[in-house]
Amino acid sequence: MKTPIPHIVAKDVVKTVQLTGSELTILQDIHLTINQGATVAIVGASGSGKSTLLGILAGLDLASSGEVYLAGQPLHKLSEDERAELRARSVGFVFQSFLLLPSLTALENVTLPAELAGMPDARARGLELLAQVGLSHRADFFPNQMSGGEQQRVAIARAFITKPAVLFADEPSANLDSATGEKIEDLLFELNEQQGTTLVLVTHNHELAQRCQYRFQMHAGRLAADLTQTTEDKRHVG
């Protein structure tokens, strides 16, 4: 077994926001190391700060203090544009509300990150991924012509087109009925396994969290516990 390489590292991360007259702490005391190829779930109730953490780990937002490393790059020292370039190269996203561009077709949505990263053969690879998610016949459809499940499958294809080192998923099945949601989750884990991507998943769904190797519980802005060791504890699941 090869030595695990730390892929995402957060050291003493704090996030505060200024409100009128007061300061609100959203995240504090976050220490986290995620190795390459690991699948990690961050679970927590609504408002616990899990999406904020995801944003900071993915370089969408900056921590108020502390250090964050993504694929060896110190995110806390990079400019906004440098972070954007890092995301283009190394990060994929799947969002709760799919977030496809409404004016682009399914195929164009899939190829967009590849085009932004200046990758060749974007179209061929996009068609291949659409086939993998079972949507070859929908390549020229616009988002509003597709069901929610189909849209999320397009979003998954989009997330993998740049062969990202890390994939961040924010409640990927929360807007879907349970049968469709499950299919989407299957697809996500399947592609993840194929490509050996590091997966960081934010969810309040413990069943989904169970499918990950590591689970963390967020509570009131703190990373309360690594649940991995307590997977047998049925009180936290279902």
Partner: protein
Amino acid sequence: MWGKIAWRLFWRELSRGELWVIAFSLFLAVLTVVSLSGITESVRSALYQRSANFIAADKILRSSIGFNEQIQQKADELQLQSSRQVQFNSMLFAKDLMQLVSVKAVSRGYPLRGELKLSSSVADPSLVAALQPNQLYLESRLYSLLNIKVGDSLELGEKEFIAAGVIVAEPDAPLSVFGSSPRILMHLDDVAATGIIQPGSRITYRLMFAGSQQDLELLETQNKEQLGPQDRWQKMDRESAIGGALDRSERFLLLSGLLGIVLAACAAAVAANRYSQRHARSVAVMKALGATTTLSRKIYGSHLLFVVIFSVGFGLVAGQLLVQLSQWGVALWMPDYLAEFSVRPLGLGVLTAAICAVLFSARPLWRLAAVPALNVLREKPDQMKFDPVHLISGSVAIWLLMWLFSGDLWISSWLFVLCLVFAALLMGFAAVMVRVAKPMAAGQSSALRLALANLRRRLWPNAFQLITFSLALFLTLLLYFLRSELLDQWQQQVPEGAPNQFLVNLTEQDKTSLQQLAIQHNLELTEFYPMVNGRVLAVNGENFADEATKEKPEQRQGVGRELNLTWLNRIPDNNEVESGQWFSADSKAEVSVESQMAERLALKLGDKLQFSVGGQVFDATITSIRKVDWNSLQPNFYMVLSPDLMQGFPATYITAFYLNMSEQELLNQIVRQFPTVSLISVDTILKQVNDIISQVSVALTFILILVFASAVLVLVAQVQATLEQREQELAILRTLGAKSAFLKAALLYEFAALGALAGLFATILAEVLLAVVQQQFFDLPYQPHWNLWWLGPVLGVALVTVLGAWQVRQLLKMSGSTLLRRALQN
């Protein structure tokens, strides 16, 4: 790489209808500018060409000493057409009879503009003739005054001439000929042989030019040092009814064009804002996927650029087509009209589009690219906040446009400040009204209550909407009322049945027979104005200088020449006493002076003027200064004497009547019956004024349509901007079980309330501004507009409700689940 993405997104956005409002607004702005300035230019050049007919040239250099050969040479260098004219008074002899005549000697090429009609028969004006050397063409009354016929021999100075025919029409016949000597026309080459021109003779030399306006302006501006004190450029008569109409219509067209453009620009700004709001999510997604801010800026900046190119292209073509159409229309009305192509309107169109795009629309798109990537994780992304920079850039743009179109820094700044004050007032009003809506809502039906609650909840967006609605309605109303008022005013100037035939030089005897003739033919004669020719010799005992000096070149013009004097008991209709008192029954030795002449000669109340009439000299004291409406086609007098002064002077009379075009035969009868009377027909002038009025009214209607279209566009853009929010609210209300009919009623009430408020504000604003514009810009008297007070609110309610309902109709048709799904996706 980004180019490909940008281009693809652009086409998609265009076909999804996302960019149409911006595109259409810019298109409308360009169309308005190009067509308005193009049409104004065409109409102006047509009117200019038409007015040129009245002076038989485009430009005239008058001199009292001789032709200015240096100017002639410069004109030849500029390849302008030119002709020469000499005017003087002299005695015309026919055997033992003689008559003082006003002689006009013209060179070949006369007239450069307009048409000269000569006839070889006194009885039949249709026998066309042309002027040759050794010939004289006479005003028809001279044939009876001198007891001659065509072909007879005449003497003018030392030379003998043949009476070759009559002058039927000359383009530059003076309009104020009431009572002047009979006119004759001769060839310039014959003047020397008459020996009339001696040093000291009172002669007017005219160098007449025609050509492009640019060259004519060059001729005047570049050769100022070549002019002596005796030379003067003759301006086209701005005092005439036509000059006034032209001035007013020009200002009006520019002002209203500006309103349309500002509206279109506002629509573009609102649409750009909405576009940014709608695309904030997409930009956040792209940035999350790795696009930098610079890249997003390039992509969305290029969208604006494509839209501008697209709109400007279509706007220029459509605008130019309209200009061509109007030129074609002008040519129908004026067959000799020479259409000129001008790039100025096109340039102005491009400049306007650039200003609108950069200052109204670029800012929201600039901000759009700055949307943080983090927004992808927010369930409800931040609404883009109020942007003071956008407000400032928009205001600067409006001011720049005002400046560009008025060409007057003062007027544009004044208008701009006025707009700011109005906007601030409206904002305050709107806030108060919307707040008041809550107590009003209590006890109302639930749909109305929901509508009022909606209004109140979106206080500031609604206040802003209210301002734009009000401004859009206000501009439409303002234009509508100003248009009809101007048309009314003009038509009043030449009312139906206004006297169009003037009879001058009537004797006491003629007076009686004419009255009989009038009764016979059912003609309505105006008052008989008595008239004598006289001169003013001195003011307060000080003689007027005979020679014109450079400092006071007007002096000789004003007083040295003969004046038509009249005496009246009551003040003429178109006159108004500015200062002093009109004559009373026991007024003795008084005179009333026209205000402009009083100003020119520095005359004031109480000054004593010395007159000479028929060799007799007498004094009169100025007891009133009158303002005369020179636009009215009525006999007007500079000096009116109190009746006591003129007892015993043999006078002739002027009168006028209206004659239908179909009864022209009667004119011939009058000419035959009263051979010594001059008949002056102002039919042609009246027709020209009417033609201009109808042209301008077509242009005004066209502008009204453009402004209305822009106003509708603003309303559409504004309602569109709230569609997403409405969709979400509807989704929630539908989910909560609200019935479609209830929601529909609530929406309609909301729009109706907004429309009514906007209509009311618009009405108040329009009434205030109408008063200001009427008095300050157009010199019209103020009158309240009662129609406005119902039309404004009704138009507001109807327009806003219909447009609002039309735009949300799709939303209302959707099922609750569809709405919910769409709302969640947004």
